[in-house]
């Protein structure tokens, strides 16, 4: 299964009749010409190459690619990955002086980075005259595209962990020098050796998000949490045009998979076909909005039920119109292996012009006070040791009716994670999503 680099390069491709075969959209010639040969040393990419060289004729029912292959291995709790450090992409040296007059650009979601954290950082390093700007994206696929093409020049990026493999391989990220980041001691110890980046060589944790359903008890008669399959509510025609799902293909399609007790990282064409059918049905019966503004749409009654990240539910409290009580808000998320809990990361981009300062910002974001600011600004919970659920409710940071939105360390450890998908599988996911978004 593991091709060596030499083996991959020594294959005589020119005689291979499949070379011109581009029906599956995978031209190995272009693959090699993109200088990605180094990727072959990675187990996952090697498996991927093997997937390329096999001419799979079974054909998927969805999309144009070949049927997904199960031999692709990605970082997962069962298969933690330690990414390589390349000779031409090493961490910066220790003990460097921060750059003068640097402008750090953080590439992140809209409303996802506390401006208070920026102000305190700029103040802390005032003598270096540092400035921090934010550039925002709607989804990470778009973001990674812009980073690759140079469309956006940023120092720090806010990926989910399913992108790390690609980014390391393409050398879009640079490894971190731990000496600059003593604040790592503040977060759950699991993050100094997470499955997606053993020994945290490239990433620091940002915030956690469970995914569930939020609704208004005054507009929804069912107790969704008590339903035998709470996700069925999204297909209940009674709430036509009264709901929204998250505009993120993995999260939304993951919800459909969870509804059917399937893996949220499925490679199986039949699973994707099922997702496709149920999403089409969703478009026909309840016509949900697809967005990430549920945190304001529920308080303002634009929708009554939504798929929501836990942080959205917490945020809804502050978006309730004046004079209306947040007591009507409810949030449910599954437990154990049926829950989908992930965390976002901060990474340092290779192109950063002020890497020392950028390290300092990564460290700053892990500070307890700063994290509390991040929590109250984004509604998403940083994995700080000092933040415990009991304390959050007792300090009235979160109302009792939304206590279910607090993410516990055991949720993260027992839940399913949205893992990186092999590119061909990912394309098939994207194709299902495209279809859903086209309103078909």
């Amino acid at each position: 299964m593991r091709h060596s680099r030499e083996h991959a390069l020594s294959e005589d491709r020119s005689k291979d009749p499949n070379d011109q075969q581009r029906g599956d959209g995978l031209s190995r010639r272009s693959f090699l010409s993109r200088g990605a040969a180094a990727a072959v040393t990675l187990p996952s990419m090697a498996a991927f190459l093997e997937a390329c060289s096999k001419k799979d004729t079974t054909g998927g029912t969805v999309g144009t690619g070949p049927a997904p292959t199960a031999t692709f291995s990605v970082a997962s709790p069962e298969n933690p990955v330690k990414w390589p450090i390349f000779d031409d992409n090493k961490p910066i040296a220790s003990g460097l002086t921060p750059e003068q007059n640097a402008t750090l650009n953080v590439y992140t979601y809209v409303d996802y980075f506390d401006k208070g954290a920026i102000k305190s950082f700029e103040k802390k390093y005032q003598k270096y005259n540092v400035k921090v700007t934010l550039t925002t994206f709607e989804d990470t696929t778009e973001a990674i595209g812009k980073i690759r093409t140079g469309g956006v020049q940023a120092d720090i990026y806010n990926p989910s962990y399913d992108q790390i493999g690609k980014m390391v391989t393409a050398k879009l990220v640079q490894p971190i020098n731990h000496d600059y980041i003593p604040n790592i001691a503040n977060v759950w110890p699991t993050y100094t050796n997470p499955f997606y980046d053993q020994e945290w060589q490239y990433t620091t944790p940002y915030v956690l998000y469970g995914t569930g359903i939020a609704w208004r008890a005054d507009l929804v008669s069912e107790d969704i949490a008590a339903m035998s399959n709470p996700y069925d509510i999204f297909w209940n025609a009674k709430y036509e045009k009264k709901m929204s799902v998250l505009d993120d293909y993995r999260t939304c399609m993951g919800m459909v998979l969870l509804r059917n007790n399937l893996s949220v990282n499925t490679y199986k064409a039949e699973d994707l076909d099922l997702v496709h059918k149920q999403l089409s049905l969703l478009n026909q019966t309840t016509k949900p909005k697809v967005n990430v503004t549920d945190y304001t749409d529920v308080p303002t009654k634009i929708v009554s039920i939504c798929q929501a990240w836990a942080g959205d539910a917490v945020n809804m409290v502050s978006y309730m119109p004046q004079g209306q009580s947040p007591d009507v808000l409810r949030y449910w998320s599954p437990t154990g292996n049926e829950n989908m809990t992930d965390n976002d990361l901060l990474v340092l981009l290779k192109e950063s012009k002020a890497p020392v300062m950028a390290h300092l910002l990564l460290n700053h974001m892990l500070d307890y006070e700063v994290s509390i600011g991040t929590f109250s600004f984004t509604g998403y919970q940083p994995p700080q040791n000092k933040i415990t659920p009991e304390e959050l409710v007792s300090s009235q940071f979160i109302p009792k009716n939304l206590a279910s939105a607090v993410v516990l360390q055991k949720d993260w450890e027992s839940g399913q994670h949205l893992l990186e998908l092999p590119p061909d599988v990912d394309s098939q996911w994207q194709a299902v999503w495209q279809q859903f978004k086209a309103g078909a």
């Binding site: 650009n105 401006k115 700007t133 925002t136 812009k146 093409t149 140079g150 469309g151 020049q153 304001t296």
Partner: protein, 308 residues
């Protein structure tokens, strides 16, 4: 001409039927229905914007419940007002910058293009005239996306890379046709005689152009500058596709990005400021146009509007 349509006093309307029917059958009645449609349309078209402007002065966070008058969202709020939120005022500055840069490039380019097309004989200029008109009428998304594709295929640090210059180049491409069309129309009304008189008196082509034609074209050049500027600061599609990040987002892009979330009235304030800039440009344009065309007897709002 409207005076001639006034009812002659001696024409008596038919005296049969209900008053309404009588009124309706009167061929010289005032067009009340049309008038009503017009005013309803104007209310429908302008009131929403007026309300949005009004709410930029709201003292509270709501964009639909009035909580008192204040300048909170303009400068009083220390964090989220347009003045204090770096993102918002940067958007305004960037928008105006795009307007100025695009106008500076597109207008001279367009004026020269118009002069060239007007005098250059043969089939080739016809071809380019059609290209120019095509770039005028092509849906912006086609131009915007194709330039976005070009930008994403180019290596880093080329001028068309997404960013301020990419946006300016894209906008110039889309806007250049304005000055061309306006200047050509003006050239047609001026005719050839002035220039010919100048050359007969011994001026060179360039001399005649500089001393006679350009001064006569000034109103058209001026009007097209204003139009390009006002159009660019409202542009959305090209600016969005060619923006490289928060620092190259215009006001329109900011509105698009945040209107779907939970914007504060600061967004209304930002939009209102842009509105002021737009109308400022138009008023200056109108006054300047009137000044430049004084003595020509057609300096009405209508002829300025006709330049559209």
């Amino acid at each position: 001409m409207t005076a001639t349509l006034q009812p002659p006093a001696e024409v008596a309307p038919a005296r049969t039927g209900l008053p309404f029917v009588r009124w309706f059958k009167n061929p010289w009645r005032k067009p009340r229905i049309l008038e009503a449609i017009t005013w309803i349309y104007l209310a429908w078209s302008l009131l929403p914007v007026a309300i949005a402007v009004l709410f930029s002065f709201n003292a509270g966070k709501s964009r639909s419940v009035w909580q008192g008058f204040s300048f909170r969202w303009y400068w009083q709020d220390p964090d989220r007002s347009v003045w204090h939120d770096a993102d918002l005022h940067a958007a305004l500055v960037h928008t105006l910058l795009l307007g100025v840069l695009t106008t500076i490039i597109a207008v001279p380019l367009g004026v020269a293009f118009a002069l060239g097309l007007d005098r250059w004989r043969g089939r080739l200029p016809q071809f380019w005239n059609i290209q120019m008109l095509l770039s005028f009428v092509v849906p912006e998304i086609i131009l915007g996306v194709s330039l976005y594709f070009v930008a994403s295929q180019l290596p880093v640090n080329t001028p068309l890379q997404a960013g301020t210059w990419g946006q300016v180049i894209g906008l110039v491409t889309f806007q250049m046709s304005y000055p061309v069309i306006i200047v050509r129309a003006r050239l047609l009304t001026i005719g050839k005689q002035y220039e010919e008189a100048a050359t007969d008196l011994g001026a060179s082509s360039i001399g005649a152009l500089r001393r006679v034609l350009i001064p006569m074209l000034l109103p058209a050049i001026f009007a097209s500058s204003v139009l390009v500027f006002a159009d660019v600061i409202d542009d959305f599609v090209i600016v969005r596709y060619l923006s490289s990040g928060a620092d190259t987002e215009s006001v329109a892009v900011k509105i698009y990005n945040t209107a779907r979330g939970a914007p504060t009235p600061a967004l209304n304030a930002l939009a209102s400021l842009l509105l002021v800039a737009s109308f400022g440009a138009i008023v200056i344009g109108y006054l300047g146009y009137r000044f430049l065309t004084r003595g020509e007897g057609e300096s009405s709002l209508g002829s300025f509007a006709g330049q559209l």
